[in-house]
Symmetry: D2
């Protein structure tokens, strides 16, 4: 078992372990003795070298969570055998698990409406190499941001949703997501509410940015609500979308100071900066397989 | 008109203008032309030298707010004449105003229950010269913190409030506050809800510390609520107490980062540090006559 | 004298006072009695309505600073007369002063090398209406970022400076700045050191972003320095460029948390976000006439 | 191997694993394959159940670091055997290691001069149960803070160091530290420089709080230096004391915003709050065996 890159950040990992040899296992299960040993045994037995491992136990929920990164370059068997063996352990411990390989780059669709700041931010970070993914698709209910997608050479599709054709339009969107092999949908200030049916097709695979410190200021126009309440900080929250609006598992939050001098327009300006960084962090962590959601909570491994 | 100390912080002001010569005028009124000129004229005419002036207009509420600090050492008339003149202007502009002199040190009562961290913090800051006030009284519904008050040589009174005698006990408290000439009541993790009647006797003169980022987690056990919701930041809010619980004008807020690793006990520990600094800032600003409340908002002059 | 917009932020001001009627006076002088009165008198006498006023005194340096915003829509005379009158007062008090009118939009040149994040950030903020200026010019010592300038339809000029032709190239740059009527030069990760001669032509009109919390990690490769020192926070500093590298008056600074897990590449990634917001704040404040520099310090009015 | 408390915070751990059964192993060594496996094997073989494990590799320094917490309640052998086995592994991998048991509570001496805020803060946190240690001793070069130690019933010793008797006084101090079985010396604004000889006796066991964001403002009067430089943030740094002043491995840092309005006294006031929390965090992490120092850096496990 190699320890040569334990705890290393992605950027450093990449210099040492070829990306295509990297495996990341995410596990959650009822808390019991022997889980760590069993998983370590399986990986060791197949020649997978553990690079990094982090765990968490929610003592109240009696749940155990683990993230293990390993190097597959000296695998004694093959991935299929390894996965069979993991499945066996998983059944014994009633585990949920997912395994991501560096050989497969995740594919992200960005949903937008008219605000362009989060879209620009994601595309520029992607261009700068900060986000390890492909972004083959920008979808919108308005044509406005087509020009931005075009600047980056990305396919742009408009789904002009009205009350009457929402189900139909969503069906088309889902079809497109499937056709494009999308792993993650990012709602980058997308001003439409997705149906429960849509969301159920991408469980904990849709990240939304809400422009308040949730659970304060749920619903519409949170900066106006914040202004009316006279708060001294405004916030932003990235969370997984669930059927219940603004109540999905929170991934990341941050705040910025404001004062009586700030108009709603000032709060919006300050908030835009927050929305960008909070959403980008959440997306980056997702791409890095750092997030495990359970109930309305998340574990985000460092 | 002297400008020699404009915008200076209290500590620096004190080195130059003797505290007893300092006057601070706080004004709020419907927004109209000529307010600034009229006040400047009155002060100038009486020989009061403006040291520092700050204004704010709430364009939505159409309200004007101003704070003026001035030096009375070369007053041409006397304080009574000056106040008469201000009254005259105030009537013309339908102003609310209050005038504080450096000759009168504000008197603060601290209400506590069983948590001692905010009490210790306030008393140590007072001892260190950070809070320009007298603290003649600590009141509680429990005897526990008498030992802390005793360490600092401060009168400690217990009012063991039960459902049946609340009105009666509050009457005694009000009597004591009056007898002690209390200007400001600080609820330093006081676990009793004050009656509307009590609060109406000290309008915008009771500061409470709530252990969440309001309006998130109103009511009891906010750290438990925060833990249950899975937020990534916990906060604290200092606000004026009003008849509606946790809805008074917010004076100051701050947050600290937390993660899935933090238990409720961890949130409480992190929160204690926040509660202390947020409450202390609010109290200091109050003592410095920096806060103007209107509706459920505050103006806090720098 | 109108108070209807005192202390209002730019965005709110704009809704009420037409931008072309706005005047902003910035003043600094030795601290003396009567300055505020004298200036107020002049403005009042000419029918300029004070909207907002803020002052500061550096008691150690014995210097006085003031920023006054006023509405010229009901000017009794004209701008020339007003300026003559201000000049008279200024001579009496040995004042430095500058007066900006809303009728004239400031013109900004951005200097870059190969990093594009600050350039994109400024251009997107400008496009979003956050920066009240024109950006007619991007200059660089490399051709790389021409594509970015082109996306935004902005003139891009390359000055490929070598050791031998630096003076000559700078002369050309200065010529271009003059031809374009540039008010402010923003060094957005420009990797060339400007000569003292160049800087002297734009005193306190060149803003640089340094990628550390100055005065820590002066000079080259500050993220590498920070990594080597093992700090737990990395920072960014926006400052006016002066002849002495990294020692100009600091306008704004901010930091972000890091840990032993962060590689130099991680620090660079985290730092980019800081550099963008810190530089953008400094530029916005400059455009808003909020900054006064003296010695190696700044006053930044709220 | 039990996973039932993996990653749990101290407070939560304590509810489930009796403190006296807790073992914490800290390891550092040249980075090589097989370290994790070897240690896991030894612990597993002796019946020590791993509760929590975290690792880090400094790829540049080619060093590996690990912290393992385990439950000894079902140990198959005894602690002596376990330690022998660890020693064997350690020799094989040229490891530095230290093993702490919950049965032994660490003993802390606090060194102070005249500032009382950090001392009060540590003693109040200790009293509140935030710091899992004993504090049998407060030492000072001045008699002033004896009253504070007395309030908390703690032994107070004065060593009035002068130029001539420094070596002699330090010898007495070292004798006292040894007599009291001190594990950690906390310099809580202790205004004497310890000799290299003194420090060499407590390597990475002396934590100092410096009142600036190091490496900015090394040496004396950092708030005055910060004021003179006109920075927009002031900071505090907790670090291990080494023979070279202010250059020891940094454990924790934080900053607070300031402005041109802040006098040196204001910076000192704001800084005191920082010093307290930064020092307290560093001490808590030390007591929790979270810190590993190497060169002039630290690894601080979450």
């Amino acid at each position: 078992m190699s320890c040569s890159l334990l705890g290393a950040s992605y950027s450093r990992l990449m210099t040492a372990v070829a990306k295509q040899n990297l495996g990341t296992l995410l596990v959650s299960c009822p808390d019991r003795r022997g889980i760590v040993a069993a998983l370590a045994q399986v990986l060791y037995g197949h020649g997978a070298n553990i690079l990094d491992s982090d765990q968490h136990t929610d003592a109240d929920a009696r749940l155990f969570f683990q993230r293990i990164r390993f190097d597959t370059s000296e695998l004694l068997t093959d991935r299929t055998s390894l996965e069979h063996a993991i499945t066996e352990v998983a059944e014994r411990f009633t585990m949920n698990w997912q395994l991501a390989y560096g050989t497969r780059t995740k594919r992200v669709a960005v949903f937008v409406s008219r605000y362009d700041h989060c879209l620009y931010d994601l595309l520029l970070r992607h261009q700068a190499g900060e986000l390890d993914c492909e972004i083959p698709l920008v979808a919108s209910n308005h044509p406005d941001l087509g020009r931005v997608a075009a600047q980056f050479g990305i396919r742009f599709e408009v789904f002009p949703i009205s009350k009457d054709d929402k189900a139909e339009q969503e069906e088309k969107e889902l079809g497109l997501l499937e056709a494009e092999g999308i792993d993650l949908v990012v709602l980058a200030r997308y001003m439409q509410i997705l149906s429960a049916r849509f969301i159920s097709r991408y469980p904990t695979r849709i990240i939304n940015i809400h422009h308040s410190f949730l659970p304060a200021f749920v619903g519409g126009r949170p900066y106006h609500q914040a202004y009316a309440r006279g708060v001294k900080l405004v916030g932003a929250t990235a969370h997984f979308a669930t059927a219940t609006l603004d109540e999905g598992p929170i991934i990341e939050q941050d705040v910025v100071r404001c004062s009586h001098r700030d108009s709603v327009a000032d709060l919006e300006r300050k908030g835009r900066d927050l929305e960008k960084v909070v959403l980008a962090r959440a997306v980056r962590w997702y791409l890095d397989d750092r997030i495990l959601a359970y109930g309305n909570k998340t574990v985000v491994f460092d």
